[in-house]
């Protein structure tokens, strides 16, 4: 065989092999992380985890009830504030301001906020909410999460509304429907599954966020529902327990980590299925 040809072939096979290796490398990490999470987390996954509060140092009984409830409350409030804002902002970008100078500026800034370090968001809320309120609070934590939700929802909302065919809008306008109703009744409906996908992805993003809660909501060891005080939450509790010397706390940290990961992956997969259904239609 021609030596140049066989050299090119060898090189091609080598690179193909490396690319395959890279893919195997990536998938292996996911598998390794999930396997260790299940291996260490399943042992502690029992009813106590959901009905008992976090134990004092050294104790070998207790669960994560207060942290789970706290995380749920803050995530719901954060998404509750951030999702509508992001949705309306995305609506403006896609419907009213399509050819606006303002739109391109906002889109650019939003894309930067989308990837901005979450610990910076924490610092911002610390300066803007915690300092004026003179104390760490669950509401500060929720606001920090809301600031993270907005760019995610804005981005997907805009993308999804831009996919809605203009003919639909024109048809509605021709029937005499005012602009706001064209958007609410026609565009939102046509893009519904996409909009829900955005909210699900945003929820998944904040469900495991730790850095912005470290010095906004802080965390505590009790069951509390007051929004103007510190509130226990899963990520910060895990953060504290991992670095503790107590075996039982570490066990709880693994179980909590498994809970968060399963929730986040379920939300991600749910969002994916929703958007896959959409493209299949």
């Amino acid at each position: 065989m021609n030596p140049i040809y066989s050299r090119r072939r060898r090189k091609d096979i080598l690179i193909r092999g490396l690319c395959f290796g890279a893919a195997a490398f990536g998938v292996t990490w996911l598998a390794l992380i999930l396997i260790t999470l299940f291996y260490n987390g399943l042992a502690g996954l029992n009813l106590d985890l959901f009905v008992a509060d976090t134990p004092p140092p050294g104790s070998t009984e207790g669960g994560l009830r207060n942290a789970i409830v706290g995380s749920l409350i803050m995530t719901v409030i954060g998404v509750g504030i951030g999702a509508p804002l992001g949705l309306f902002a995305g609506t403006y970008l896609a419907e009213y301001g399509r050819n606006d100078k303002l739109t391109s500026v906002i889109r650019f800034i939003n894309d930067i906020l989308l990837s901005a370090p979450s610990i910076i968001i924490g610092l911002f809320i610390y300066g803007a909410v915690v300092v004026p309120m003179r104390g760490f609070s669950a509401i500060a934590g929720s606001l920090a999460l809301a600031v993270i939700v907005i760019p995610v929802v804005l981005r997907t909302t805009e993308d999804m509304l831009l996919l809605v065919p203009n003919a639909l809008r024109e048809a509605a306008s021709a029937l005499g429907l005012p602009r706001s109703l064209v958007i609410k009744r026609i565009a939102y409906r046509a893009a519904r599954s996409g909009l829900i996908t955005g909210v699900l992805l945003a929820t998944a993003r904040v469900a495991g966020e730790t850095a912005p809660l470290l010095f906004t909501a802080l965390s505590n060891q009790f069951f509390s529902l007051g929004l103007n005080k510190t509130m226990a939450n899963l990520p910060v509790t895990i953060n504290n327990f991992v670095q503790s010397p107590y075996a039982y706390w570490k066990q709880l940290a693994w179980s909590g980590a498994l809970l968060i990961t399963l929730t986040v992956l379920a939300l991600n997969i749910g969002a994916r299925i929703l958007s896959a259904e959409r493209t299949a239609k």
Binding site: L18, L113, I269
Partner: protein, 329 residues
């Protein structure tokens, strides 16, 4: 029917003027709600910059530009001595090593997914890589702390230290002793975390290459690798750089994955197996218990990080926008 609005029902069947004015009011209100929401994005950015500058001001006044090249970090000294050199060094070094690992691997996966992979395997592998992006960073940190750190310290690190022992420069970079907590461990975790960003953007831009270009190259007898190197990568270069910069922006600011396994040491060591710290890890571990000048210094670190990531991410966006224009969107 969609046209039958509540507004018409409320206004009664005959009062056309009233219905129209209700429409108008609803229209104007909705317009301003959406416009103000959109503007709130700008307010958030302004608020971030303003609150960081206000918080960092005492430290700026106290240390000036010397903050940038002071290595000592002694918040409990009287008066506190604070310098950003250690965390800045750690941030840049960990991100650099992470990109060194993640760029070839991420591109390799993208090439595998677009050019080599059989159709039925494409979705599962693509999904697995994207799920990697969904795992919260604290899980990576915890996993690195309990599993990866001990593993590296017992296997990979001693191996590298032994190989490069006595070699100039490299010997200092891979110097012992092995450690559970080190810059390298943090960088490896970062690499795994940013891998999905590089892969998914590369896959997206690889798909923009017109098939006819690739087919022409295959037609003149190119191998798969030659098609990728001479057609696909040159065609999508701008997009790849954009994706890499986006990943870099993530790596620079990543907090929880790093803070467990980097060791929180402000001393700069030439060895990548030594403990260090990054800006975000320093803020995460010290901020809640800080006050006064110490806290202001940490906020100043945050401001530095924000400026750094802002420019990297802005550059990434400009690159990707250029590609979109080229694609004719």
């Amino acid at each position: 029917m969609a046209v039958q609005s509540d507004v018409i029902d409320d206004a009664g069947p005959y009062d056309r003027a009233k219905a129209l004015s209700a429409f108008k009011l609803g229209d104007v209100t909705f317009y301003w709600i959406t416009r103000l929401s959109a503007i709130s994005v700008l307010l958030i950015l302004g608020g971030i910059i303003l609150s960081l500058i206000v918080g960092a001001f005492p430290a700026m006044k106290e240390y000036g530009f010397a903050f940038l090249w002071t290595q000592r970090w002694a918040p409990s000294a009287d008066p506190p001595v604070l310098g950003a050199l250690g965390p800045m060094y750690g941030t840049l070094v960990t991100s650099f090593i992470a990109m060194l690992i993640a760029i070839p691997v991420g591109l390799g996966i993208a090439i595998f997914l677009t050019e080599l992979c059989p159709q039925w395997l494409r979705r599962p592998i693509g999904m697995a890589i994207e799920l990697l992006a969904g795992i919260p960073s604290i899980i990576y940190g915890m996993w690195g702390f309990f599993v990866l750190g001990p593993f590296l310290a017992n296997t990979f690190q001693p191996f590298m230290i032994k190989i490069f022992d006595g070699v100039p420069v490299l010997g200092a970079i891979f110097a012992g002793p092995p450690s559970y907590l080190s810059l390298f461990n943090a960088a490896l975790i970062l690499a795994i975390m940013v891998l999905p960003f590089i892969t998914s953007i590369s896959v997206d831009v690889f798909k923009t290459v017109p098939p006819v270009l690739k087919e022409a190259a295959y037609g003149v007898g190119c191998t798969t690798w030659e098609v990728v190197r001479s057609v696909v990568i040159p065609y999508t270069r701008v997009g790849i750089i954009g994706g890499v910069m986006l990943a870099l922006g993530r790596a620079l600011g990543e907090t929880m994955a790093v803070s467990f396994i980097i060791g929180n040491s402000f001393r700069i060591s030439s060895s990548i197996f030594a403990p260090g710290t990054t800006i975000s890890a320093a803020i995460a571990s010290e901020f809640a218990e800080s006050d006064g000048l110490h806290q202001s210094g940490l906020i100043l670190l945050g401001l530095l990080l924000f400026v750094l990531t802002f420019f990297v991410l802005a550059g990434a966006r400009l690159m990707l926008m250029r590609l979109e224009k080229k694609a004719g969107n």
